[in-house]
Point group: C4
Chain length 211, copies 4
């Protein structure tokens, strides 16, 4: 077994993550989308509408960060994920981001649903696991950015862009309400780890009683 | 691995789905039944009373849509699923339906149990995942048809037939109260995907607090 | 794959069930015990204190129903399960019982904990899945026998014997409070199926709101 | 398959446990740390910051109980787990402890969160499963030691040391609030078994209604 996901070719790693996330119920149906930077200007992203437990290395498209142009596609009828705009926004905002994973987690949606209407963020529980986001403070007050879901994905992407240009988030993650978490980071293994950590934190929050 | 379930022979695909659903707890004991059209007039359906984690390609019977006649059975003592009448009703109602999956999900039964007595449908949560049913509206109001459970399966089938002849459902799925979901669709992969999606939606509903 | 568990030699089948139940969390630590009749007078039962995910065919002892005498043991230091007395009681009471499975399920213990103090049974939910216990009635009122847990296992066995000599249970299963379910039946596959079904019914009950 | 984890070389066994715990969600991200004594004076412990589903036998360091000195490391840039101090404290306190496992379990954190502020222990439910901690009493009152979480791990280790020097705990386990359980014991298989048992007990407690 590879020591980290980054020891695999990026598309092989993404296909492995897709099978893993699908088996956990985080990519039900064809939901979710995964990407990794190929170079500073481009990233590989999952093709749209494919069952995520069955991807192979040909089911990724190379997309240009700047304008979303598809630069390479192996299977001619593959289309980039409908949420490519969100990945583009994050890669443009955070030059250090080399990978970006988005899935759907029932408990995450349940936890987010408890936030007040219009709330811009969800306070993450101040439990040990939060160190996985590289936060090393006693009883940290960490906010997970919350975004409203829109049918028009471009609008979600613009909201992310507008907000994060003004204010850097506390964590390399965000939650779209009634939808799911997106996590980005310096390499695939880090983003995979933090996706697990965010799942843990939000499952905790969905179950814990307010004190 | 096959790119989609439809790249496999139908009975091999159904046996694979049965193992998958059994492992997830959706086919406890010998519960549930799966079918796929062989041609416009006939469908393959799981034999009755078999442990669903152990089916092979010989555990399916070829049944005629029109009258339920068993046209082919490889193992002579195999009987078609007790709920064949429901599959027949759906294939007769929806000529485009090429596959039909029925299982039992604890959380689906819990969610349905919260609907008022006599309610004819359950409002699905207006979350992103609903796009998996090809619904592309902001805050969609989508109703999952609810049917009462009867010991006499033929009565459930007639109820489905009567209601759907009058009113097309919002989604290619229904829920039998105190029983389980049934999903149909244009091909096996689509129906498999939507079964996962319905599971997701109903698990969300079983946990989410009313707002 | 074998078509049913009964196509395997009994000890191989029991070892396979043990791995399966362990993986589901139903045999945490070394908890639980599984048996199958070898002939009318004897049954094979799991050795005591073994991790249940790691049993092989040598980890079973042949025990005489009548007096609990160990008739055969392959590994000399293996001892029969501490709950052998319960298996003996059930095989003596029900000559048709050819297998008996006992595990621990968190949700089953949670559901049983909701029964009133001193209650002799737990009403099972009248949902479709109950047909797996061969109950074919509309809205059946089915009681799962409840027994108090005692440190002295022999006392549990006597309670079972005393009660079932007077009254046959509605189902081939019982629940020991604060402990776990025991299921018996005509063959290994049937008992395995019904264990899954009881798990389903009690998980439903642990989650469903009273109506 | 090995009959018990102790039939494997210690580092191979720890790597296997790490994959197992990761797959169950008990080592999300790089959380958790596992150790086994090599001899009376030293123990092998997981390297810090590695994804726990991908460890191999080179990802362990040999640490001296007395002063925490790293005596052997195969991969030169591996560092011992940040929580090595806790393992050292436990090995120093309990000469019979040969292994020590620490993970993070959502339900355990939820259960611990229900204890009163400042509570020094959590009453474990008096259910059958508690026998797995070698407690053989009817309705036993067993307390799981609770420790506050501190950013400074050395402080947690000192708290453990101070308390356990005065009072031996009821069980070979403790819980760090908002963090996770730690279990130690006479051999790897016993500790593995008891980790499963503690998970069971705390999942029960997180779900059971107070009576």
């Amino acid at each position: 077994m590879a020591q980290t996901l980054d020891d695999l070719p990026p598309r092989a790693a993404l296909a492995e993550i897709a099978r893993d996330f699908h088996a956990r119920g985080w990519m039900a149906g064809t939901a979710g989308n995964l990407s990794a930077r190929a170079d500073d200007e481009h990233f590989w992203i999952t093709a749209s509408g494919k069952p995520k437990g069955r991807l192979d290395e040909l089911d990724f498209l190379l997309v240009r960060v700047r304008d979303g142009e598809v630069v390479e596609r192996v299977r001619p009828d593959n289309k980039p994920s409908a949420e490519t705009a969100i990945h583009r926004a994050l890669y443009a905002l955070f030059p250090g981001a080399r990978a970006c994973l988005h899935g759907h987690i029932v408990e995450a949606a349940v936890a987010a649903n408890r936030a007040k209407k219009g709330a811009k963020s969800l306070r993450l529980p101040a439990i040990e696991m939060i160190k996985g986001f590289d936060i090393w403070r006693q009883n940290p007050k960490v906010e997970l950015p919350l975004f409203e879901n829109h049918l028009d994905v471009a609008k979600i992407a613009r909201d992310i862009e507008t907000r994060f240009k003004k204010t850097k988030p506390d964590v390399t993650a965000l939650m779209i309400r009634a939808h799911g978490p997106t996590v980005w980071g310096a390499n695939l293994q880090e983003v995979y780890n933090r996706f697990e950590i965010l799942d843990y934190l939000l499952r905790y929050q969905a179950q814990a009683r307010p004190r």
